[in-house]
């Protein structure tokens, strides 16, 4: 599903040039659950942002479903992103002014799904993450765990092929963290590919394969 070859990413300021990713190559197969681990600053989030087409790469090749996307313009990137990729962030990134229902509905509005169909799919996914009873509340009225479940619901409502999760349990206690990990595992079992960045060895155990990074390179892969 994803094939990255000799990926390079540099961050430049006027004085310093930092190599974030250095000739990194990796492959992700359809239906895999991958955990990316490593110390802070090793390039995990940069890698996730590039896989999610949120960031440009400075060198190398990136094939998404056998299509080279490294040279895609912003329009093509966002088109591919909104139809194929769901994001889950550490700090949830829900929109405070929208209700839970409206937050989850948002990706469907961007992909121009009709209103009746939107309502049905949002209700289904809210049922799945067991948050249906809070559908008319605003994010600030929910606990962290509930908010992350809503964020997962928003990420999967469009039935994406790939879910990218950047430390999804980082702001949660262990109970809520386990619930979110359980949710991601269920989605993976239903066929969704998951790439998750984490610091937690416990969470990494949910994955099929653990990629360990250091200084912008993959130093070890452990197959679960």
């Amino acid at each position: 599903m994803i094939k990255i070859t000799d990926l390079q990413k540099l961050y430049r300021t006027e004085e310093v040039e930092t190599v974030a990713l250095n000739n990194l190559s990796m492959e992700v197969k359809q239906g895999e659950f991958i955990a990316v681990m490593g110390p802070s600053g090793c390039g995990k989030s940069t890698l996730l942002n590039i896989i999610g087409l949120l960031d440009d790469l400075d060198g190398g090749s990136y094939l998404f479903n056998d299509i080279e996307v490294a040279n895609f313009n912003e329009r093509k990137r966002s088109d591919l992103r909104k139809h194929n990729i769901g994001f889950v962030f550490q700090s949830f990134n829900l929109i405070d002014e929208l209700t839970i229902f409206e937050n989850v509905e948002l990706p469907l509005i961007y992909t121009k799904v009709p209103a009746a169909e939107r309502k049905k799919r949002v209700e289904e996914v809210l049922e799945k993450v067991q948050i249906m009873h809070r559908r008319n509340h605003f994010p600030q009225q929910l606990s962290g765990g509930q908010q992350q479940r809503v964020a997962v619901a928003r990420a999967v409502v469009n039935n994406p092929k790939l879910i990218l999760a950047d430390e999804p349990t980082g702001n949660l206690d262990s109970n809520n963290g386990n619930a979110v990990m359980q949710l991601l595992t269920e989605l993976n079992e239903q066929g969704t590919t998951v790439v998750m960045v984490t610091h937690s060895e416990h969470d990494a155990r949910y994955s099929d394969r653990i990629i360990r990074m250091l200084d912008g390179q993959i130093v070890m892969e452990v197959v679960g």
Partner: protein, 226 residues
């Protein structure tokens, strides 16, 4: 999508009422002041733009010593109310005088008759369309060779010119009588026959020399017409 943005914007405004009020008020005042400045400048620049040769027309001003203060002035022409029995209905009429080139400088069209002839005294009149109609004539030609009484003399109307804004474009065009005589205000047109404008400067310098010779105690001023 737009609906969603509006929804978010509205809820943010409602949530932060005081902050929104200050922001909107500030923005409103800012935009209003900008618009007022824009309208003011637009208005200031709108005057006398209709002259075909507006870039080449200048008004000569006199700097006169008045009670030890220098006062810049361009003497306006006299106006009078003609209440003479011969002219009906009685209307406010402006009288303006200048040399016959006045008509040419401002590209004023003559509808009937001819321009006044050059003279040091007023001996004939050119009137505008509005005055011709105010006097009861149906067509401009009908006013030709009729007489207006002025300073006890009968002055013939030799031509009728098209209505022309000699004041602001915002002012109504009033009946005007034009006499061919040397007036106290004069407007000149300088030929723009080279790009860098040096010939203008030379001409203006020559005019100033003559002016200073004639009015040694007065300043010479030149401004673009309008």
């Amino acid at each position: 999508m737009i609906k969603n943005y509006l929804k978010i914007a509205w809820r943010t405004l409602v949530k932060n009422k005081a902050f929104s009020f200050i922001n909107i008020l500030g923005l409103t005042i800012g935009i209003t002041v900008c618009m007022m400045i824009f309208l003011f400048i637009l208005n200031e620049f709108s005057f006398d733009r209709f002259h075909k040769q507006e870039k080449d027309i200048y008004r000569v001003m006199r700097g006169v010593n008045d009670m030890k203060e220098k006062v810049g002035m361009s003497f306006t022409n006299l106006s009078f109310i003609d209440g003479e029995e011969e002219i009906k209905p009685s209307v406010n009429v402006q009288i303006r005088w200048g040399d016959p080139q006045y008509i040419d400088v401002y590209k004023i069209k003559i509808l009937a008759g001819r321009n006044v002839e050059s003279s040091d005294t007023i001996k004939e009149f050119l009137i505008n369309e509005s005055y011709a109609y105010a006097l009861g004539f149906q067509h401009p030609e009908d006013a030709l060779n009729k007489f207006l009484k002025w300073n006890g003399s009968n002055m013939p109307i030799v031509g009728v010119r098209k209505d022309f804004h000699f004041q602001s474009m915002h002012a109504l065009i009033e009946p005007v009588v034009f006499g061919g005589s040397i007036g106290q205000t004069f407007h000149i047109q300088l030929k723009s026959n080279n790009v860098d404008g040096t010939s203008w400067k030379n001409t203006i310098a020559e005019i100033q020399k003559v002016y200073n010779r004639m009015y040694p105690d007065e300043d010479f001023n030149l401004c673009i017409s309008g």
